[in-house]
Structures are given as C-alpha cells and as structure tokens.
C-alpha cells in the first residue's frame, strides 16, 4: 500500500516534468539513429553496436535520473520527514526501482522497436528478449543510482558519478575490444562489472535464434547485481543522521 502510493507519487513527479520524459524516451532513439547514419553500408557493424547501445543507454539514463532524484530527497528534507512516517526503507528503494523501471521499460521498448523496425537492426533472436535485457539494465542503473546518491552531497557531485560508474563499464564491456583479447587484469575487472554480462547477453540474442544458457546466466547475474546494489542502498539509508 505504502509502496504503491510511493510508486504513484514518483510517477506523478515525472509526469509534471515533460522535459525529462522526453529525454527518457527520445534520446536513446536519436542516438541509435545517429549510429545508423555513421555505419551506413555496414549493416553487420551497426547491428552489433546498436544492440550493445540498447543495453547501455537505459543504464546510463536511469543511473543519472535516479541518483539525482534520490539526492533531492536527501537534500530537500523530504527523506528526513518520510523517516518520521510509516514509510520503510524498502518502500522507498523499491518505489524508485518500480517507478523508474516502468519508465525504463517504455524507453527500452521504444528504442529497440525503432532500431528494429525503422532502422533495420537485425538480431537472430527475438526483439522481445532485447527489450527484456535492456529493462534489466535500466533497473541496474536505478539500483546503482540509488546507491551512488548516498556518496554525493550535491547534484553537481551526483552527476560526476556518472562517468565514474558508467565509463569503465562501457570501456571494458567488450564493445571496443573483445573481452577475450584483453589483458588478464582488465578481464578480471571486466568480470566483476555487471554491464559486461548484459552486453554478453545481448550479443547472445544477436547471434542465436533461441535464448541460450549463457544468456539466461548473464541475465541472472544482472538481476543479482540489482539485488546486491539495493541491499547496499538500504544499508546506506539511515533513519537517524548526524
């Protein structure tokens, strides 16, 4: 009940902010269109990069939006006030997770649908699986954003966390250099970064007609990373502060 009210409240806040909605829905689609112009005449390269980006964009966008939204709860005093009411930490964390997860589902469906039908992005497996993995990625962004907001004092700092968290994952996920060809220590780092698994899962969908075991395992790793980030996020949320 409290969880539902919280989800509704967060979605209402979003509804009052059409610019952010436009950013969520339109930006990934525009960027993927840009890719299709860049790789005109190289459909295989476009397929591979666009597919990876479908996993990366929702992660980045949701990470940013969530960390700033949560930071606002802290700095405007609403968090302090909520903690004097029956709201539980999990109501709040899952409230954000579900509300922004829904927004992410719309984002991923629009971007993947557009890439597939308008830009001719080809995948061996089903586009539905692409959307599923993209949504899991977006929820990962939400969960890590909630966690990161605990370490930022200002919105300015929160934005700085974006490159810190997103850039290494993007560089090491196998998009630029295949993971097998990286130096051992880089591979080891890549192995503990959740985005590596989502990108691998997407690649699996790209080349196999049916969902593979590796894909399901990768998806499970991403979901596990979400749970760990949420648990850590709950641990950083303190009812009492100094």
């Amino acid at each position: 009940m409290i969880l539902l009210s919280t989800v509704r409240r967060i979605l209402t806040q979003l509804r009052h902010d059409p610019r952010t909605i436009a950013m969520i829905i339109v930006v990934p689609t525009l960027l993927i269109s840009l890719l299709s112009f860049m790789y005109e005449g190289q459909p295989a390269v476009f397929d591979r990069i666009a597919l990876t980006m479908l996993g990366v964009f929702p992660f980045v966008v949701m990470f940013l939006i969530t960390s700033i939204a949560m930071l606002r709860e802290r700095t405007t005093g609403t968090l302090e006030r909520l903690f004097t009411t029956p709201v539980g930490k999990l109501d709040l964390l899952f409230g954000y997770g579900i509300a922004f997860g829904l927004a992410a589902a719309v984002q991923a469906a629009v971007a993947a649908g557009f890439a597939h039908w308008a830009l001719g992005m080809d995948t061996a497996g089903s586009i539905g699986l692409v959307v599923l993995i993209a949504v899991a990625n977006a929820v990962l962004g939400v969960a890590l954003g909630l966690l990161a907001s605990a370490f930022a004092r200002t919105e300015f700092q929160a934005v700085q966390f974006m490159p810190v968290v997103a850039a290494p994952q993007l560089l090491l996920c196998g998009l630029f250099v295949p993971r097998e060809e990286m130096a051992g220590w880089l591979q080891a780092i890549s192995d503990v970064l959740p985005l590596s698994y989502s990108v691998e899962a997407l690649t699996e969908v790209g080349v196999h007609t049916d969902p593979t075991g590796i894909m399901w395992r990768d998806l499970a790793v991403v979901v596990a990373a979400v749970v760990v980030a949420l648990v850590l996020g709950a641990a950083t949320l303190r009812r009492r502060t100094a």
């Binding site: 006030r81 009411t85 100094a242």
Partner: protein, 240 residues
C-alpha cells in the same frame, strides 16, 4: 496531566561540538509548548531527537511512552522541518495526498488539511510556484493531515502575515484542545504568549521551563522579550 514527551540526560554531538549536553525536559500532553532560544541554541536538534531522526550519543527520549523514533510512533507523530520539506514538482494537493496515503487516509482527508492551512485556492498549483509562506503552509498541511497525537513544528509561522499567523495558532490551540501535544519553536514573542508552557534553551541548556506568566514574573517584567533577555543574562552571570 500526563507527560507526552520526556527527555532525560540527552547528549547530542553535531560535528565536533556537543549541541545538547545532558539535556532534560518534559512536555505535558494536550498542551501547546513553545521552544524558544537564540539561533544555534539547539532547537532544531532537540526536535530532531524527539521525532527520532537525530543520532544521539546518550540519554533517553520517550514519546507517548515509547522510545523516540520507534515503529509505533511513526503513525502518531507529525513533524514539520524548519525548511519546508515538500516535493516541489508536485501540486499542493498531490503532496498532501501522498502523506495521507502513507497513513492509509483518503484524498478527502488530504484536501481537508490543505483547507486548514488556507491553501485550498492553490491546491492544484505546483509547490515550486508557491510563495515562501505558502510553501511552508503546504509543508504544515502534510504533517497535520494524519491528525497526529504529537505534532513537532520547527518555526512553522515564519514568513506568514499576522492574519495567517493568528489563524494557524488558532488551529494549534484547537488541536491541543482535542488532546494533541504541540511543540512549536519560534522566535516571535507574541506567539510565545499563546503557549501553555515555554521551554527556553540557550547553548543547549534549558534555562526556563514554565508558563509564559511565570517566566515573566520570575524575570520581573511584563514583557516576554525583556524576560527572555533577563533570563539569558542571569544564566550568563551564573555560568561566569
């Protein structure tokens, strides 16, 4: 009259300083109690300890017989922070309805609270577009919506005109008459005169705990502003 809030030997550190150092006080149930003191004296800190969001070093804070911040209290307490804490990107009504929903109350309850703070004409307006005084009333509405038994208000009338201040105080008096315990911090002495009891705090120490009349009498003046200054001077002399 029983005690609604009891603070015993409370020690709170913020940063490097001990803001409250062995603080005692008691607030009777069904009263309006004013918390007065110079800026930085520890009013907000004490209120935060009472609503259970302040880390404390030691001591005991009991509200309605329960430890401050414990689960059963979260349905029975209302807190208005010094800076209005409402969602700027929601309307007044949406804010009140969210806080109502947290207490399993309806939209009609929420609209009643918005009405009680004189904002029904602005219910559909985004909080971001409200004036400062309207914003703090929106924040107040979100606290009174659940009809809490204990209402902790940190300078709720700052920025309000005399007519509104009078209405809000009338509202606090009615809540207390219905049995609620209201703890209000303020800098305005004509408001202090409308309290049943006053707690005067300076540098984290309680220097008076009495009715407004008794405070004035013990300072030998009919003016509360003057009484306040006298008591502070007296305490400074005693400390020196």
């Amino acid at each position: 009259m029983s005690t609604a809030i009891e603070v015993e030997n409370l020690v709170v550190r913020r940063g490097k300083r001990a803001v409250l150092d062995g603080f005692f006080c008691a607030v009777p149930q069904g009263s309006v109690t004013g918390l007065l003191g110079p800026s930085g004296s520890g009013k907000t800190t004490l209120m935060r300890a009472i609503v259970g969001v302040q880390t404390v070093v030691s001591g005991r804070v009991t509200v309605l017989g329960h430890p401050a911040g414990s689960v059963p209290l979260r349905r029975r307490i209302g807190y208005v922070t010094q800076a209005p804490s409402v969602y700027a990107d929601l309307t007044v009504a949406e804010n009140a309805r969210y806080f109502a929903a947290l207490h399993r109350l309806t939209a009609a309850d929420a609209d009643g609270a918005v009405d009680a703070v004189g904002l029904s004409g602005h219910a559909g307006q985004l909080v971001a577009n409200l004036s400062g005084g309207q914003r703090s009333r929106a924040s107040l509405a979100c606290a009174i919506v659940s009809r809490p038994e204990v209402l902790v208000l940190d300078e709720p009338t700052v920025g309000q005109d005399p007519v509104l201040r009078d209405e809000l105080w009338g509202h606090f008096r009615r809540l207390a008459a219905d049995g609620a315990t209201v703890l209000v911090s303020s800098h305005v002495m004509d408001e202090a005169n409308r309290c049943d009891r006053l707690l005067l705090i300076r540098d984290g120490a309680l220097i008076a705990d009495d009715t407004p009349e008794a405070v004035k009498r013990s300072a030998g003046t009919g003016d509360l502003d003057q009484a306040f200054l006298t008591l502070i001077k007296r305490q400074e002399l005693a400390a020196a």
